[in-house]
Symmetry: C2
Subunit: 323 residues, 2 copies
Amino acid sequence: MADQKIDVLISEVGPRDGLQSIDTILPLALKKAWISAEAAAGVREIEVGSFVPASLLPQLADTAEVVKHAKTIPGLTVAVLVPNLRGAEAAIAAGADKITLPVSASETHSLRNVRRTHDQMIAEARAISTLIASLPPGRRPHFEGSLSTAFGCTIEGAIPDAVLQDLAARLVEAGCAEVGLSDTSGYANPTQVRRLIRLVRGVVGDDRLTGLHLHNTRGLGLANALAGLEEGITTLDASLGGLGGCPFAPGASGNIVTEDLAFMLESMGLRTGIDLDALLSVRRQLAQWLPNEPVYGFTSEAGLPLGYVGPPQIVRFADALGG
Amino acid sequence: MADQKIDVLISEVGPRDGLQSIDTILPLALKKAWISAEAAAGVREIEVGSFVPASLLPQLADTAEVVKHAKTIPGLTVAVLVPNLRGAEAAIAAGADKITLPVSASETHSLRNVRRTHDQMIAEARAISTLIASLPPGRRPHFEGSLSTAFGCTIEGAIPDAVLQDLAARLVEAGCAEVGLSDTSGYANPTQVRRLIRLVRGVVGDDRLTGLHLHNTRGLGLANALAGLEEGITTLDASLGGLGGCPFAPGASGNIVTEDLAFMLESMGLRTGIDLDALLSVRRQLAQWLPNEPVYGFTSEAGLPLGYVGPPQIVRFADALGG
């Protein structure tokens, strides 16, 4: 299955972003089972954890072991988050395929979150890319700098365009293969999604911005995803069952919901490689493993439409988008 | 306020579609208060009820009185649903500004829902338009035929294009000023929204299809709305607090949520004429009036983004859509 061509890559971030937001510790064996089941359902990329000090985030203390397991799954891109060079060293030692360094566009947020200025974060990015460049070519992970709070910050409010342009340029100059845009606060709207993608691509080039990390805090997550697709975005982060929720909005998922996103894309004729029935089955398992944590999303309750057929084997991206 | 230009008309359908789906009877005085408060928040069109036999739908038995009240509100377009000529007669007697006749694209659904074939529904449409034509010019309500189950039916599944084309053509030929597309089942996806708008406009002309009635059953409601906007749709139905929910999907709103839609449009720079804070306040009132009925949506919990500013006074529609 993993050899079939896909149109859009759904990157599952639940084992990282979902789990880090809940109190219930999911045992290592269940993390492994979750990742295996979701990969078996056709998910091609999973962010399996974060290399942060265990004292700060006990839920993700076993990330190295999770990576080791995930690396045994054929065809799966194993992604991790790292806050700094030390995290990147651990990620590389564990064998991660993709490393994401979040850099908050809001410097206030950056200082509160990781106690680092923009200059310090760029220095981390440079140190990580230097480390990666020192590895044998076959062992170099893909390195992305993700601009968090890009669509606005709960502390600073709107982020000036010049700050985003400057940070994006500096991340690429520091050695990131790619920059991503992350709607940490759930502030994004479709017009802004289009505008900021064009803005940042104007600085770094089209091929260095291909992914979005969207939240559904105000219900606009899938509309924002659609706007991104129309700008040629090909990787979308999402979390199974919207696990983790949103601390600012009880009842709202934080990340967009993997199964709703997969249903939207597949029903539009865009291939994700995902078997929707199998994915919904993994969601049910996850809900059983975490009985005290709410899960979100709509497709799981409503089921697939009567007579639903997935995308054809060959589809023109522009046709699916009505372009 | 009602004189200001708007870009997109949000048509509130909660007092009809929301209330008809719940058991709690909302007293006439509160229906009036709801409609007045929402109009005061800037909503320009409200579907206030349905002229169906009171024995079938006790909740809406007072529609004539609700219309009478709503007609006292300056600048408000007072819309009602009618199932047949008899309903249209009552709507006209009450003074409704807009009459919508739902015609199910799925004939099986039509037979189960109103016990009428397509031919019989077209005959009703013709009788209603004949009645309207007999009125003095200033007293003729706008008459729309709404194609329900247009995006698929829970009994029949997919609806053939030819059926939609045929019904749309016959509704216009029977005298409807406009046809609408309604996602009764919550089956729609953005690609399909674009495709069916183009399909039906190809038959009836661009100016005779300007509105969509979308559901959020599978979470795609606002993404579908965005796709509609990109095709030039200018009227979107929505329900405050998503009142009424979706019987097929516990936890899912039926109609798209007015306040989330209004936030999306305004944050995109598209003017709706709606004061978001005032609208959220009406939602809180509604939730208090119906304490046993769940309400839905995200923006109400999350609040407006820090530093949020509404749309400018002058905006180019194409700019807001990134076209």
